[in-house]
Symmetry: D2
Subunit: 337 residues, 4 copies
């Protein structure tokens, strides 16, 4: 049993904690939370709570939450730590983790250079085998890797151009906007292209990112050129082989991200999450070797199965065994939904 | 065991089906759905599917969904039917239910005059005992009855004035707006005042309704005058005695409806629902016999426990036994969260 | 001719500059802008630009904008300065203005204690006659004073209770949210009640403020008790006597703030502003001495005529002459629209 | 002087009426409005009002609006009619216009096959010379034609791929959503590609359309391949030659469509419109013969100068004279802003 520590219990941290607790070869040693709010109160019913340091420990205890120790205590009782602290802190924290001689996973907001290797479960699982410091790429990059990997494996990809419509903030945030505006990123390619290359080395991709006023999901418009001509059926067949993808049919009345996330609620999963990347089957268009499709990404949860797989890879477990365990435990059945 | 039919599997119908399936004295005989979309597909994993008529039955079967029969079949195999069809259809459907000699519950969008009595589990449970045709009042009215009943019971209420900020549409709808506007209803009082009087007969209330561009929750600003002076602690104590209410504290960082619904997701409930009415404890203000507070209402789910209780009342089961069963089965623990 | 300096050219500053330039007894000596952005570029076509200091002056000139001097230069060439700098800076700036021996107006975000008197053109114009340091109250407070003053003058007001639905941010801001949430303020009364008392001394008012995800207008639900009974026609008549109010009729299809601001665009005014407070005539309801109505407030512009009037009051010009000049120059015709 | 009738005074119709009234070789004979709402009331101050028929005439007069006659009357007193009626009515109305022997312009929502030729002032002005029935293409198509025409003329375009993020509805509408969702169109290419070919015959273009919850502007992400290699400066130079384009610089702090429309308000134009297509200069990226840029489109007004030009073309006036008159009268100065 791998003892998994969670440092940071925000959008991603709390979901990894839940997912890790569902695995038969892992257990959650504890979580580190920074303030005693409503999230901590609930978490304390399921997990051991640790404070960043002794001062914070007292603040937690003053608010009636039992604290088992500090981050230092937690690290010495764990086999691996997942860093879910706010973007930009991971690299600093990594030094602490290294001092404790503990394996560590950073999330997609951190620099690729901070770790040994970046991880996606479909595109480069094996590179993380027995590694100590691994980064799971971001929600958008994970989504790109998920659908491009099966197409690249089957047909070979010459080049990709993707427009990424980003949800502006998560549903539980009420500070950030915009309320009524579209905000494009000026960088071209946006950082997503470079990030994808950390897990799909030879991919030739350009990306544009545009922020839009919604909280539910990102949407990607993808145009790519394969090395050979194909048909719509062959594309659907390639995508259907992977479990972490869902292909929605037009007659199911899934017109927008509102219905996709409603579908997710119907699945009765924890936090109404959608781990899979959703692809509108009707959006798939083929012209000779050119492929077009549109996919939607639940930014809060699509990286969760990847984090669980990354843990296993770092302990030497091979790809298909890990994916089978992860997907079975989280109810991911993919296209046969 | 009470056999419960669900006619209409939209926002409310599907949640009643789930809740009924969790009771130890009820079972879901089947659900009637109008079209074979993604919701029906999921529902068919848990429930028997019936079609409105034989033509629709063929349409469902053509799309690969097994249909057990028609509405008529379902009604003859059930003890009670819950009408969750779109607003305005209930009265028409009631004629069919009466022909089948089956008890029926209509929802809050229907006229009070269509049924024998309107229902709220806190304010007038006993009036529905052994009745055949009952209406559960709407999400907003239910929320008002929930918090006003304990205050009325303990202090007596002279008059209430409430401003209701309505979420414009539900999260799974992408057609309705407004995107960027505030739309007040001109009616004063809005229909909520009259509706509340169907379950709290002597209440003296005025309400104003204003539509705002959000999907998560309604928010009520409530000002009332009690028959006697009181203190904040007494008000909190009165509200704390009821399980279907939650009082949030300022230091828990619940600033808006975004954090309340995030809290609901942390509860790991089905569809991330919040059956309880949320009250901001910091908003409670007392001046002599005047009371002010602000509450938030999860419009998709607050009426669900009421519907389950209404079923039991209609079969002669008394209030506290029903509420205990309903709340235990749905994980409703109220203020001791 | 009164020489008017504008320090700060944001939402309010730029509109006061425009309005002052339209008066026959004032002229704009210059505006102080903090950074050379797109707004400054346009402003430089109409107004002399001054920089806060010599360093900033160089930054402006480097970006190709001609700068006539610094704030100090501007103050010595002007008779009065309007402080339109970001909220909270006014009090600090006031020290500089006093050193220059120049009259100054602060805006509603500043403390009432920083100045000699707070100002609303309807409720307490005369108190600012020949004063040196005056504060024009905020957009929401101005709106309350506008409609409550005629009712108080004609009937006497016992008490007011208002719920203020605040637009979350201005249309030109893309940073602030919420995108999809309702955020009530816990303070009761919200600061608006106290602020109103700075211009309507004896008013008995409670206010609740709630932030909603829109940018166009604030909306107020107002419930009040008069000293005597009245009729709807009398209320309409009292409100109709004031020019800075518009009463919309239901059959004109003004259902929401979206149509009100569209109406404003049809007026062909500068920046499509609506200086008047809009009242839905259909929302006016009377029961004995109780009055209910709903009004909408264009937060970017309703205080502009007040600022122009405040300037005149501070130079000893009496109320009706100032209001006549202000309204004529800005096209404000009120109810006879 | 050309007598211009406006049939339909919605978003586009009212703006064409305004613009036509500013030309020295045209005058507005009258406008036809369908209902006596707040827009009609304002319009009646500037224009002769006509009713669709005699019944409607009476309805208008009952609400106090003077009506000069019916549509039939208006057509017999005019030289040309602009059809601004709701999408889908133009073709039907065209039959009436033909019976009156009057020239007519339809807008972009109508079928290209209903008219002799489709029109864009930059790409195919001359084709409409002396024509009788012309269609001005839609806001999005006009925007594409505006920026692609100068690039095509100077470099030749091999192929274009554009992702169009559509504002979901106009600012004055409060009915349509989505409030919190992204809704892609399944059609690939979206209808915009075919529509562009009606005014740029040989263009090789694919477009994807995605609806996002905002009211202000559309945003286009454009990727294209030229017939020859180029540089960023050459692209900027080509775009700068056209007046109906604005290139914004990053240091002007125009981060989103919120700031662009704020810029438009600073221009002091009627209805705060932005006739020009806005291009983020910083988004322009060149790699050999590949060009990437992002543009924003004010959907309410970008087609207005085109309609004025189309009128002149249909009366035999040549391109540069018309564009000069149109742009001078509307204050369009393009890149030298």
């Amino acid at each position: 049993m791998i003892g998994v520590a969670i440092n940071g219990y925000g959008t991603i941290g709390r979901r990894i904690a839940y997912a890790a607790s569902k695995q038969d070869d892992m257990y959650v040693t504890g979580i580190v939370k920074n303030s005693p709010d409503y999230v901590t109160k609930q978490a304390s019913k399921y997990f051991n709570i640790y404070a960043p340091d002794n001062d914070k420990k007292k603040e937690f205890e003053a608010s009636g939450i039992t604290v088992k120790g500090t981050l230092d205590d937690l690290l010495s009782e764990s086999d691996i730590v997942i860093d879910g602290t706010p973007e930009g802190n991971g690299e600093k924290n990594l030094k602490i983790y290294k001092q404790h001689g503990i394996k560590a996973i950073l999330e997609g907001g951190e620099s690729k250079d901070a770790v040994e290797v970046s991880f996606n479960s479909y595109s480069n699982y094996s590179k993380s085998i027995n590694k100590n410091y691994v980064r799971v790429v971001s929600c958008n990059t994970t989504a790109l890797a998920r659908t491009l990997t099966p197409l690249n494996e089957k047909f070979g990809i010459n080049e990709v151009n993707a427009t990424i419509m980003r949800r502006a903030t998560d549903p539980n945030d009420s500070k950030k906007g915009p309320i009524n505006a579209i905000e494009p990123s000026m960088a071209y390619p946006s950082h997503h292209a470079g990030d994808l290359k950390t897990v799909m080395e030879d991919i030739n991709i350009e990306t544009t990112a545009v922020k839009v006023p919604t909280t539910l999901m990102h949407v990607h418009v993808i145009n790519l050129e394969l090395k050979s001509e194909t048909t719509k059926n062959e594309i659907i067949s390639a995508l259907s082989k992977k479990r972490r993808l869902i292909l929605f049919d037009g007659n199911e009345k899934i017109n927008s991200t509102a219905q996709i996330m409603d579908y997710a609620r119907e699945l009765s999963r924890n936090r109404s999450d959608l781990y899979e990347i959703a692809i509108w089957k009707d959006s798939i268009n083929i012209y000779k070797n050119k492929v077009h499709y549109i996919q939607a990404v639940h930014q809060e949860s699509d990286v969760i199965p990847e984090n669980i797989d990354a843990i296993r890879a770092m302990f030497g477990i091979e790809q298909s065994m890990s994916q089978d365990k992860t997907d079975a435990s989280l109810g991911i059945k993919g296209v046969e939904y």
